[in-house]
């Protein structure tokens, strides 16, 4: 045990989280706890209609309410931000509604008061009148509906592949992505068998236990934003753009987050608090309630029609994928999901002829964006359910069917990019082994039937993105890392400390991490898409190596022999005559990338690395209630070489539990666009009692260009859980569920329908 704390063995150590003690003893900083002198609290008045033109907003009573400092509407915002529209892909989202509202829950006005409860009371006194417009909620209907969510498309211009959409009218399609490879038509025409199925996923949300919160503080020369954000650098750039200021007048500080899961990316409340603080020249805090999270960001509901040509011996010869993503009222990062995840829609299979049409749609629902998996779980749900359905039809063993088609190392993926360091096969084989797939299995009897199933999925990393890190070695030899990766519970501080420690040959516990502060820590694209371990990990490694090289140069300058192990304090003392000075190492990392061809989606370099995740389950179905009991879950991923195996295991199991909620019970319910279960009382996430026995492990693998062989793992546990469960249910009771969530009611209904005795009402 003790030698583990010795330097030189930092990689592969299951070091406990560096911040764990502070967190459990209540010492950790969160934005929710921040109070600034003179600070006002903002409470939001929200739209009650799904789509409408604002006729009038009456704030007189709210303004007159005792204790209210200000009431702000969209028109007021223009005084400090003339064009107050933001978003990572489209500049479509106003700080507060202007002219139109696009979903129920959209922010329309804000009350400011020094007591948040007074502000809350005053919000109840605001009323608004709208001329209601036809609304569209379903992603497939949105393709052709008369209801058009936005009068005109406003792509951000940062992405070349969105330029052609500039100024388009009369459409809800925010992005259409197409991929063409081989001759799909011919392959279908000559196929032995053709299978087509449609799968749907529901709208759900992230629900971090720390709801969204941001504070803005005018500083005279600029503005400081304290925010629970996963992307401080993006916030700085986007706020600077909105204000027409240079980046260096905007300071963004992020302490720890109480969960993010993709919700707290890009801009959420930051533009709002900035506008409010500048308008009233006081610090302003907006902290959402749990309920308000339901009106802020969600996960795309989706429809996926998948069609495969298969020959007699179970080889897939062609696949056509049509995916419709329900983006809600604002595009957020949806167009990226449509493309970057869209191109993996055919699954981890070696298919010569592939076509993909993937559409990002606007609808009048709360906006959808990134959520742990970035669209991949929706795709895997379809292609891995489809895989089992085909295998069943062909009377092939589902594992064997996958073996015949699996995308092996060195083979081209649908984009033409060759698979490299992608342990798909190893993941599949490990799942089968862990499941004892070849052994007989107790299938239950009577009203309790047992089944098992599995699935495998893969994901590309969003690219090209940049990370920069600074390692500062002080005169006593202690090291501090400055980086803008946000630790929201995933353990990045600990893993990054291990990387620094490995290079500098110190104990990871001794490395200090400076949290994101854009005045202090360098640029990082964002903490998203499982990119940090690879991108920031590489930057941190380079920064530490740079520092080490500079220390060696310093030693050489002082005439020391190469490789001399003079203690660092002594080195600094010799240089500066006392304990003084420091050595600063800088690391900057951006992988290579080649944009896909606009018409064919082909590229030789789609992603810097691949993430692989598979899940196998054993389940039990109560045929009289539809209740599905999960006997055990096995998650296997390719995470490269884990820097911290325990954190890797926690990331896998945490992701799987989150996906378990999305699979078995979670669903946002709507009535005319209004969420009807916007509370943790009615929206059921898994509790500790709902978590089945679980094994989570990484196969022996190596990412050749990852830091010490590592790559990202934050999402891989989400990929294949849903289809594994649906496949196991069919194995147990012979019914196929094609829509999430798989509630007991859904299974029971399917059983009754299969028995030719459908439940009557629905």
């Amino acid at each position: 045990m003790n030698e583990m704390t010795m330097p030189g063995r930092q990689i592969g150590r299951s070091l406990p989280r560096l911040e764990a003690r502070d967190k459990v003893t209540g010492r950790t900083e969160y934005v929710h706890n921040l109070r600034l002198p003179g600070m006002l609290y903002g409470k939001i008045f929200r739209s009650t209609v799904a789509h409408g033109r604002i006729r009038n907003i009456d704030v007189t009573a709210a303004r007159a309410h005792a204790g209210v400092a200000h009431v702000i509407t969209g028109e007021d915002v223009r005084k400090v931000i003339p064009r107050p529209f933001y978003g990572p892909a489209f500049h479509d989202q106003p700080v507060l509604a202007l002219d139109k509202v696009h979903y129920v829950g959209e922010p329309v006005a804000v009350v400011l008061a020094s007591d948040p409860y007074v502000a809350d009371e005053a919000v109840q006194l605001i009323s608004a009148e709208y001329d209601e417009l036809p609304a569209v909620f379903d992603e497939v209907e949105a393709m052709s509906s008369q209801a058009v969510v936005h009068d005109e498309l406003k792509p951000a211009g940062t992405f070349p592949d969105l330029k052609h959409l500039q100024g388009r009218r009369n459409t809800n399609v925010a992005l259409d992505f197409h991929l063409r490879r081989g001759d799909v038509d011919k392959a279908f025409a000559t196929a032995d068998r053709v299978f087509e199925h449609t799968f749907r996923t529901q709208q759900v949300l992230h629900l971090p236990l720390e709801p969204f919160v941001s504070v803005a503080e005018p500083t005279g020369s600029g503005i400081t934003i304290h925010t629970a954000s996963q992307s401080p650098s993006f916030v700085r750039i986007e706020i600077a753009r909105l204000l027409g200021w240079p980046e260096n007048r905007v300071r963004v500080k992020v302490p720890y987050l109480g969960g993010g899961f993709g919700a707290k990316l890009y801009i959420k409340l930051e533009a709002m608090v900035t506008a409010l603080a500048l308008l009233v020249q006081r610090p302003v805090k907006v902290a959402l309630t749990m309920e308000e999270q339901f009106y802020t960001l969600t996960k795309h509901a989706s429809t996926f029609r998948i069609k495969s040509a298969v020959n007699k011996d179970g080889r897939i010869t062609a696949r056509h994928c049509e995916v419709w993503w329900n983006g809600g009222a604002y595009a957020d990062i949806g167009p990226r999901i449509t493309q970057k995840s869209g191109f993996t829609a055919p699954g981890p299979y070696d298919i010569d002829n592939v076509s993909i049409d993937s559409y990002s749609l606007y609808t009048n629902l709360p906006p959808a964006g990134a959520l742990r998996g970035f669209g991949i779980p929706q795709l895997v749900w379809a292609y891995e359910s489809h895989a089992d359905m085909i295998a069943r039809e062909l009377a092939l063993d589902p594992v064997e069917f996958r073996r015949r088609n699996i995308l092996r190392e060195g083979r081209p993926q649908a984009t033409g990019t060759l698979m490299r360091d992608a342990a798909i096969e190893a993941v599949l084989e490990r799942l089968a082994e862990r499941l004892d797939w070849n052994k007989s299995f107790d299938r239950g009897s009577g009203t309790v039937r047992r089944g098992r199933g599995l699935g495998i999925g893969f994901k590309a990393s969003i690219s090209p993105t940049t990370s920069i890190a600074i390692v500062n070695v002080a005169a006593d030899g202690s090291a501090t890392l400055y980086c803008s990766t946000v630790d929201m519970g995933q353990g990045s501080d600990t893993a990054n400390a291990q990387v620094v420690a490995e290079v500098l040959d110190v104990a990871a516990e001794s490395v200090r991490i400076v949290h994101p502060d854009t005045d202090v820590t360098p640029y990082d694209m964002a903490t998203l898409g499982s990119r940090s371990m690879f991108h920031m990990g590489n930057a941190v490694r380079l920064a530490a190596q740079d520092a080490k090289a500079k220390l060696a140069a310093l030693a050489a300058e002082l005439g020391l022999p190469p490789g001399s192990n003079i203690p660092l304090p002594e080195l600094f003392r010799r240089k500066y005559g006392m304990q003084a000075g420091n050595v600063i190492g800088i690391g900057s990392y951006v992988p290579t990338y080649e944009s896909p061809n606009h018409d064919t989606g082909q590229t030789s370099n789609a992603t810097p690395y691949w993430m692989i995740g598979g899940t196998a389950v054993e389940i039990e179905v109560d045929t009289e209630t539809g209740h599905v009991r999960i006997i055990r879950i096995i998650n296997v991923v390719d995470a490269g070489k884990p820097i911290n195996p325990k954190i890797v295991e926690d990331q896998i199991s945490g992701a799987a539990v989150m996906q378990l909620g999305f699979t078995m019970q979670e669903k946002m319910l709507f009535e005319g666009g209004q969420v009807t279960n916007a509370s943790l009382a009615d929206y059921k996430i898994p509790s500790i009692l709902d978590i089945p026995p679980m094994i989570s492990e990484a196969v022996d693998a190596q990412q050749h260009d990852g830091p010490f062989g590592a790559k990202g793992v934050g999402e891989s546990g989400t990929f294949a859980l849903s289809p594994a469960i649906a496949n196991a249910i069919e194995d147990a009771v012979g019914v196929r569920v094609t829509e999430l969530p798989i509630t007991a009611e859904a299974v029971y209904r399917a059983l009754r329908t299969a028995a030719n005795d459908p439940l009557e009402d629905a």
Partner: protein
């Protein structure tokens, strides 16, 4: 959210509590364990001016058993029932039903009186009160009254309590040792309110025929109910598999089954039927469903 502003009083006596309630004329509420009231306040579904905490009032947390049955004081908590040394013998149905209520944290605080007064259509205690023909003892300005459970539950979250009345006790009729019984429920997650639940008990005559069957259901209508048609079908029969299926088929007979966001009516009806089958089988100590597939 946080609750609206309210005042708080913790009287030492029942008379003091009643006086406060009466003085506020419907604008005050009793608080016991707070496990239903606090969420209601936080969601701002109710906004009384005064909360009258009854925790300090003596003698409201007794559990006693005698020839006339089991008496539970209003402040008896789920945990008290669960841990009681003899209740499992004296009233096994009560103990079994209570084990389905919520999670540990809530069971440590939630009370029998609070559950009856709150009258959630899916709550276990009101279901037991209905199934067992319990008497609910309440005290108000006008004195004490005894309300039969059948008259107590008026609708979802509605009871026959007057604004100035406090529940002090619930009385369950005596429970013979040889009685056949079972409780079954189905909920979405562990500890959630039931989508449907059934309590069954009966005695047997010398020929093994059912005497005086009681079947209560929760979660299916706006208040806990007795399944009259099923009870009538069960009375006088020997309980075999055929009887069970016949009785269970009548589970929802005459019921106006409710739907909410957690489940539609047709599914609740189906659950009710299968839960009744299971409860009857367990009560009769018959094996689980046979190979039906």
């Amino acid at each position: 959210m946080k609750p609206p502003r309210f005042d708080y009083a913790r009287p030492d006596s029942l008379a003091g509590a009643i006086a406060l309630l009466a003085a506020h004329n419907g604008d005050a509420k009793v608080i016991a364990g707070g496990q239903s009231l606090m969420p209601m306040l936080n969601f701002r579904l109710t906004s009384p001016r005064l909360l009258v905490d009854i925790a300090r009032i003596a003698d409201l947390n007794h559990i006693s058993a005698g020839a006339d049955g089991v008496r539970l004081g209003a402040l008896v908590r789920w945990r008290d029932i669960e841990r009681h040394p003899t209740l499992a013998k004296l009233h096994p149905l009560l103990v079994e039903a209570t084990s389905h209520v919520a999670h540990y944290q809530i069971r440590n605080r939630g009370t029998v009186g609070g559950s009856l007064a709150h009258a959630d259509p899916a709550a276990e205690m009101p279901g037991i009160a209905i199934a067992c023909d319990a008497q609910i003892i309440v005290v108000g300005r006008a004195g004490q009254r005894t309300i039969p459970a059948a008259d107590f539950f008026v609708g979802a979250l509605m009871t026959a309590l007057e604004p100035d009345e406090v529940i002090v006790e619930v009385r369950l009729p005596p429970w013979p040792g040889e009685r056949h019984f079972a409780f079954e429920e189905f909920s979405r997650r562990k500890g959630d309110f039931a989508l449907a639940g059934v309590a069954v008990f009966y005695d047997l005559d010398g020929q093994g025929r059912v005497i005086d069957p009681h079947i209560g259901a929760i979660g299916v209508t706006s208040r806990p109910v007795r399944l009259n048609a099923a009870e009538a079908a069960l009375a006088g029969r020997a309980v075999d598999e055929a009887a069970i299926l016949a009785v269970a088929a009548l589970a929802d007979d005459g019921l106006d089954v409710a739907e909410d966001i957690h489940a539609p009516a047709d599914y609740r009806r189906a659950l009710l039927q299968v839960l009744l089958e299971r409860a009857l089988r367990r009560a009769a100590r018959l094996p689980d469903a046979e190979q039906t597939q």
